[in-house]
């Protein structure tokens, strides 16, 4: 808290100007009374305490089993799969999204049409369907080969050897993610003021340089929060990878729930807590990335939590000194 709550000076209480007893800045200001706020706070605290008490004491949650499952190797293996699939498909999705967004803005009608069609297709088809199709891809195409299009092949791969479960999951999620990321990136590019494009062009910079030095850094300000939103959605959509016979965090929890049916609830809580941890970690990274790209756009950067804590401490000390001086 850097401000004193309810610091308000009412004119009626102003001291007569004839006899200034103390310097003005040392005078104590009476805070305004706010009974309503106190009552609301008390009610909310009681409700929160009740919820916490219920969580801790309800036998339905079986916290002892929660402790047993939280760090089990099978759950951690699942967590690793979740992290891997999410990280790789986020990377694939971002690269694909940038390429698609550029294609969408290019001068070539073919590139524009292909990019539009791709986005339209992958935003329409449910992710589950994409995964099932890819997983059973070998039914449609037995081999993949590199060579001259419609001509002889130099190298050919047996598709079922090439496509491990992990590959299929990453490609499926990545293709899906790229379609959404394309729109996020395109929105970011559109948010850059037209004047910036014109100024960059007026400086005579090459097209590529205009994009990497002028347009993209400004676009990233609006891309970041939207893409992180996508990313959090992606972390949760990894729970569909059991469709490609891969057990992620949620999948391993489901499997163990059927083997140990007495522990279904604590297992679900384990998954919940892990997902909370993952999302929180992503949010922390997001804060710093956003702060980085805000340079040059805002006059003063928003304070980091550490700076906030320092400032709060300093303000508190100053207040203590003032209170002591009264």
């Amino acid at each position: 808290m850097s401000q004193l709550p309810g610091a308000a000076v009412s004119l009626a209480e102003a001291p007569p100007a004839a006899e200034p007893s103390k310097p003005l800045d040392a005078q104590r200001v009476q805070p305004l009374r706010r009974p309503g706020r106190w009552i609301a706070t008390a009610v909310v605290l009681v409700v929160v305490a009740q919820i916490a008490h219920g969580l801790a004491t309800n036998p339905f949650y079986q916290w002892d089993r929660f402790r047993y499952w939280f760090l089990r190797p099978t759950v951690l293996d699942g967590l690793l799969v979740t992290l891997e699939v999410a990280a790789l498909s986020a990377l694939l999705g971002l690269i694909g999204g940038v390429l698609l967004a550029l294609a969408r803005q290019s001068g070539s009608p073919v590139l524009r049409a292909v990019s539009w069609t791709y986005t339209w297709l992958f935003r329409s088809v449910p992710l589950i369907v994409v995964l099932i199709f890819l997983y059973n891809f070998s039914a449609l195409y037995k081999t993949l080969s590199l060579g001259i299009p419609f001509g002889p092949a130099f190298v050919s791969f047996d598709e079922s050897k090439l496509a491990t479960d992990m590959t299929v999951a990453v490609i499926g999620l990545g293709l899906n993610e790229a379609a959404y990321a394309a729109e996020v990136v395109r929105g970011g590019l559109l948010s850059v003021d037209q004047g910036q494009h014109e100024a960059a062009a007026a400086l005579g910079l090459p097209r590529a340089r205009q994009f990497t030095r002028i347009v993209l850094p400004q676009a990233l300000r609006s891309i970041t929060p939207n893409y992180v939103n996508q990313l959090i959605g992606l972390v949760k959509s990894t729970s569909l990878v059991f469709y490609v016979s891969l057990l992620d965090l949620f999948g391993s929890v489901q499997t163990m729930g059927s083997t140990y049916p007495g522990d279904i609830v604590p297992l679900l809580l384990v998954a919940t807590v892990w997902y909370l941890i993952l999302t929180s970690a992503v949010s922390v990274v997001q804060f710093y990335v956003e702060r980085y790209f805000a340079r040059g756009a805002t006059r003063t950067l928003p304070p980091t939590p550490l700076q906030k804590a320092r400032a709060g401490l300093t303000a508190f000390r100053a207040r203590l000194r003032r209170e002591a001086a009264v």
Partner: protein
């Protein structure tokens, strides 16, 4: 950090990203993929009921290759020397038939064990792969898998695309909370006014919907509910949202023993034949139509029945009351319209 994106920093970022990607790729090698660990048995023995989490007695069975049966196999499979078995037990298995065992990583259960027995008689190396129920069938269609062993009921509908070799009776049962007083008693009339959950795409669902329409004709109601997974169904049962769960009987038996000490214990409320009143339902190994595999598998099952390993396998899993006298290729199954 540089204050703007230079070409060099872009290159650096890209190479860092590549490094991250390759690192993650390297992690994949040691990550927990759901590959079913094939147990290492010496040639001539198959151990059933491993890491079964209390569902079975671990039993070592002597099984050896029968060359005449091996000669019956389609040439492609015989030359390959492996039998690709698919088990549809993802994301949540159905103990004691097919599930991840008590070591929390190995695929175990009566069905994969039986698949291993059959492969041993045919002189093939079993390759087990776990998949979702839908992908199991698509995998058989696409040739990814040779045969499915996963408590699959032989039905007339499925016969349009698959060949069957039966190996077990199919009984279904009702599971209710222990504190409930309801009994099925073999009479569908007792279901009037109840809410019952059933798994999507199973033959017990078909039976239940049949009863529902019969009750409707009599002016009574039966509410049928579906849940995303077995776990979700059991949560609904323990929360009192449904009166009963209609599922494969071995699974009901396992669940009843497992939840005995949990806050919401359950009990069985009666069983029924998996193919309706007129016919004994059969569980069968499922192969692609005209793949030429159903006959050798049926003969292998018959060989196991005659040699006594079949009875020992069932006894290990406490399923002796589901034994059949003989394996049949494409026996009459659950009719298209069970009227």
């Amino acid at each position: 950090m540089p204050s703007h994106l230079t070409r060099r920093s872009l290159t650096r970022a890209l190479s860092a990203a590549t490094a991250v990607a390759s690192l993650a790729g390297a992690l994949t090698a040691c990550g927990g993929s759901s590959d079913a660990a094939t147990t290492t048995d010496a040639v001539g023995t198959v151990t059933v009921g491993r890491v079964s989490n209390g569902a079975a007695r671990q039993t070592r069975l002597k099984v050896s290759e029968v060359t005449s049966l091996n000669a019956e196999l389609p040439a492609a499979v015989r030359e390959r020397g492996t039998l690709n078995i698919t088990v549809g037990a993802l994301p949540d298995g159905f103990p004691p038939l097919a599930y991840i065992g008590g070591d929390q990583k190995t695929l175990t259960g009566a069905e994969p064990d039986f698949g291993r027995l059959v492969a041993a008689v045919l002189g093939l190396k079993p390759q087990l792969a776990n998949a979702t129920w839908e992908n199991m069938f698509v995998g058989i269609d696409s040739g990814k898998a040779d045969v499915g062993f996963a408590n699959i009921t032989d039905t007339e509908e499925r016969k349009k695309k698959y060949d069957f070799a039966s190996y077990r009776k199919d009984n279904v049962g009702f599971e209710v909370l222990k504190k409930s007083t309801w009994k099925f008693g073999g009479n569908y009339e007792n279901l009037a006014g109840k809410t019952v959950a059933v798994d999507n795409g199973t033959n017990q669902e078909k039976i239940l919907l049949e009863w529902q329409s019969k009750l409707k004709a009599e002016g009574k109601s039966l509410t049928v509910k579906h849940y995303a997974s077995k776990n979700a169904t059991y949560l609904a049962l323990s929360g009192g949202r449904i009166d009963a769960y209609f599922a494969a009987n071995p699974g009901v038996a396992y669940h009843v023993t497992q939840t005995a000490t949990s806050p919401n214990p359950t009990r069985s409320a009666g069983t029924y034949s998996g193919a309706g009143a007129s016919l004994q339902g059969l569980i069968a190994a499922t192969t692609k139509k005209d793949s030429g595999l159903a006959k050798p598998i049926a003969d292998a099952v018959d060989h196991l029945i005659e040699d006594g390993q079949y009875a020992k396998w069932l006894a290990a899993y406490h399923l002796s009351d589901e034994a059949v006298a003989k394996s049949q290729v494409n026996p009459p199954g659950l009719p298209l319209s069970d009227s």
